[in-house]
């Protein structure tokens, strides 16, 4: 095959495209006649640096492209605006290739079809994009490896390029994302705002940036919240955008808002608010509900003094004392106090405080304030009812029991033996009725939180001796021997009468369930975690394991016949548990059917206990209003 000689020069001269050879820095070395379309003679262009003819905005990018071609020894496609002889600009699309040996660049340049005016045509934008991506490895890597969702979109509303994070977040492939207008993915409710933001970007001939948030539908149909930062370059007709998936953040914020709302609602329903006090500045902070309870507008933050003065005058000293101890010693408090609102309404409030402390100082006080006026009124009614009922029951019982006791004591003369038996029976049932009344009153007090302990430093032996004295008669009657083993002197801080009540109750239970000629052991000594432990051990029938959990409930007796045969009220253990727990202690039982039962309770030992020295916290009367019925 033979070829006719090809006249390259002729081809060069005839090409409708602009052809040129430049040096590595863009100096025009050879040009074909097509360049004259731009209004210049070839001579005017020859040897001139290219940058002399470029739009000032395009000089830098063009220079960098030439530099890149030199470094990477490759081909580049790019565009810029070239100034014609008449001063107008035309868009020129370059396809330039380096000849590394000759150190020159061969370029084919085509004038853009829509190359008039200020806007580059879409294909040019694409070219420019690919140029940018190809020529700058660093940017390309940034684009591909960014953890943000990076996108480049055109003015027609399509993504031109998205990085892999998009696929990770939304589940669509690159092609799926670029195939439809991006508005297709936007949540219907967010389309209006997204359009508005887009118009802001597009309606400007300068580079414009914007930041906004919208929801994008992911492939699984759920929506993700995206936070956008977008910038538009009107010259390239491209939007560069970075988005972050903030769904978790929004969800957390919504959950937080929701729980705040719930808290506000429930605190309003429960009439409980929160307060905080800085122990240094002494500036109180109130929650909305605390303002509401005080009937104070939320914009009128009170000073500490003003806050204290809402309490009724008689309540202020005890509040100041408690607050002082909380600030200086970190002592918590829980008080029920009368309060007068800004509007003059009288309320009862419960105010609690839990100081927050570091090793050596109190850093913050936090607490609650609750309007308990309704509870107080109900409590008063219930208390009055219980008190009246108990009074009304006690008055006739005084006569019945008094009469029986006088007869039993022989103060009315001798009775036949069987009559005496009947009197004794009537009498013991009277005692039982009284115990029940007393237990119900105790339980009422416990349930109303009104069981007030008179704490003092006690020696355990004191409790044991008194309880043993009170059940000795019952033990003797039942033929049960009581034995006591106290390991060492042990001091507790407690209410003597109440602790005796607990031990008496455990002892009388043990005696009642003990077979004749058996022993009931009382063992005292060290308990767990530095506590003091007392236990009562019997040789009775034991308690089946399934019945143990309900032992300490109200009106719980293992066998309903116990009520008759053992004479209990079914409240003793419930009351004992409440008393022990109010002491900060614990009560429990271990039992084995056929082997016997051990009831035990543990109390915190007295702080810095010095035996023999009695410290009385509350004034104590040595000759108390003794309840003769017990």
């Amino acid at each position: 095959m033979s070829h006719a000689p090809i006249d390259i020069e002729r081809l060069f001269a005839l090409s409708p495209d602009l052809l040129c050879i430049t040096d590595a820095r863009g100096r025009l070395l050879r040009l074909n006649p097509s360049w004259e379309k731009l209004g210049y003679t070839i001579d005017e262009l020859l040897d001139a640096p290219l940058e002399d003819f470029l739009h000032p905005d395009d000089v830098l990018t063009t220079a960098s492209v030439f530099f890149q071609i030199g470094v990477t020894m490759s081909t580049a496609r790019f565009a810029h605006r070239f100034r014609c002889k008449d001063g107008s600009y035309r868009w020129l699309n370059w396809h330039a290739t380096l000849d590394p040996e000759a150190s020159c660049i061969y370029a084919v340049i085509r004038e853009s079809l829509a190359g008039m005016g200020e806007q580059a045509p879409p294909e040019e934008a694409e070219r420019r994009l690919s140029t940018a991506l190809q020529t700058n490895e660093l940017y390309r890597q940034l684009f591909e490896t960014s953890n943000s969702m990076v996108a480049i979109a055109d003015f027609d509303g399509y993504f031109r390029h998205v990085n892999p994070v998009w696929t990770r977040v939304l589940g669509y492939s690159h092609a799926e994302l670029c195939a439809v207008p991006f508005m297709h993915f936007v949540h219907p409710e967010d389309i209006a705002t997204t359009l508005a933001e887009s118009h802001k970007l597009l309606g400007n001939d300068r580079i414009t940036t914007t930041a906004f948030v919208n929801r994008y539908r992911s492939k699984d149909g759920t929506y993700r919240w995206l936070s956008w930062n977008a910038a538009t370059d009107p010259l390239t007709r491209l939007t560069y955008a970075i988005a972050h998936d903030i769904s978790d953040l929004i969800e957390t914020r919504e959950r937080l808002q929701h729980s705040e709302e719930l808290l506000r609602e429930t605190s309003h329903m429960a009439k409980v608010g929160g307060w905080e006090l800085d122990p240094v500045t002494l500036n109180p902070m109130w929650s909305e509900e605390v303002y509401r309870i005080h009937e104070v507008p939320t914009d009128q933050a009170p000073t500490l003094e003003e806050a204290i003065n809402f309490f009724a005058p008689e309540a202020r000293p005890s509040f100041r004392r408690a607050l002082g101890a909380a600030i200086t010693e970190g002592q918590p408090f829980d008080l029920e106090l009368p309060l007068v609102t800004l509007g003059g309404k009288s309320l009862w409030v419960r105010i609690t405080c839990r100081p927050e402390r570091t090793v050596d100082k109190v850093v913050r006080l936090r607490g609650t304030l609750q309007d308990i006026s309704e509870q107080k009124a109900a409590e008063r009614v219930k208390s009055e009812f219980v008190s009246v009922v108990s009074h009304e029951l006690r008055t006739p019982l005084t006569s019945i029991r008094g009469s029986l006791r006088l007869i039993e004591g022989g103060k009315t003369g001798e009775l036949p033996a069987d009559a005496m038996d009947l009197v004794r029976m009537a009498n013991s049932n009277c005692e039982r009725l009284l115990r029940l009344i007393n237990d119900i009153l105790d339980l009422d007090k416990i349930e109303a939180g009104k069981l007030r302990l008179r704490l003092e430093q006690l020696e355990l032996r004191e409790v044991v001796d008194r309880a043993v004295r009170s059940v000795q008669g019952l033990a003797t009657e039942s033929g049960v021997t009581l034995s006591i083993a106290l390991a060492s002197p042990a001091a507790v801080e407690g209410d003597l009468d109440r602790l005796v009540q607990v031990l008496t109750n455990l002892l009388s239970n043990a005696i009642k369930f003990s077979p004749p000629q058996s022993d009931v052991h009382i063992v005292g000594g060290a308990g767990r975690e530095g506590r003091v432990r007392l236990s009562v051990q019997d040789q009775g029938p034991g308690i089946p394991p399934e019945q143990i959990p309900r032992l300490f409930g109200k009106f719980q007796q293992l066998d309903s016949s116990d009520t008759r045969t053992k004479g209990g009220t079914g409240l003793g253990l419930a009351i004992s548990k409440a008393i022990v727990e109010q002491h900060g202690g614990e009560i429990g039982v271990e039992s084995e059917v056929g082997r016997g039962t051990v009831f035990w309770f543990e109390l915190p030992s007295a702080p810095g206990a010095h035996l023999g020295r009695r410290r009385t916290r509350w004034p104590r009367r040595d000759t108390p209003h003794r309840d003769t019925s017990r």
Partner: protein, 126 residues
């Protein structure tokens, strides 16, 4: 303190009867029975008891008021007064103590031990 004569003030006849039997047959004391506060003052002025057992809840003049009236009489001011009450609230009990009572005994009392309790309350007084 040597007790010869005890006055019991109570509006309930049954309780007066049991109290009287207890004081006389167990305590072996002379007794004066009053059915109301005003009668108590009148009888106390006349009979000069060594100790007064005073019911709290009585129609008309109640126990604490009677207590004050008795105290206002110079010739009676020294007589120890013990309240008898079927009330059990601690605040109530504390209130009677704070009035200056020699003691508070709860109803129902045991007639067999009532005199002993009165004696020990009086013995414990400063």
């Amino acid at each position: 303190m040597d007790i010869q004569k005890v006055m019991l003030v109570d509006d309930e006849p049954d309780i007066r009867k049991i109290g009287q039997m207890s004081l006389e047959r167990v305590g072996h004391w002379a007794t004066v029975m009053a059915t109301s506060g005003s009668e108590a003052i009148e009888l106390a002025l006349r009979e000069r008891p060594d100790v007064i057992l005073l019911d709290v809840m009585m129609p008309g003049m109640d126990g604490p008021t009677t207590f004050q009236r008795l105290r206002e009489q110079p010739s009676l001011a020294h007589i120890p007064i013990i309240f008898l009450t079927a009330k059990v609230q601690q605040t109530e009990i504390d209130r009677y103590h704070s009035l200056g009572a020699a003691g508070v005994l709860r109803k129902p009392f045991d007639p067999l031990s009532l005199p002993e309790e009165i004696s020990s309350l009086l013995a414990a007084r400063p």
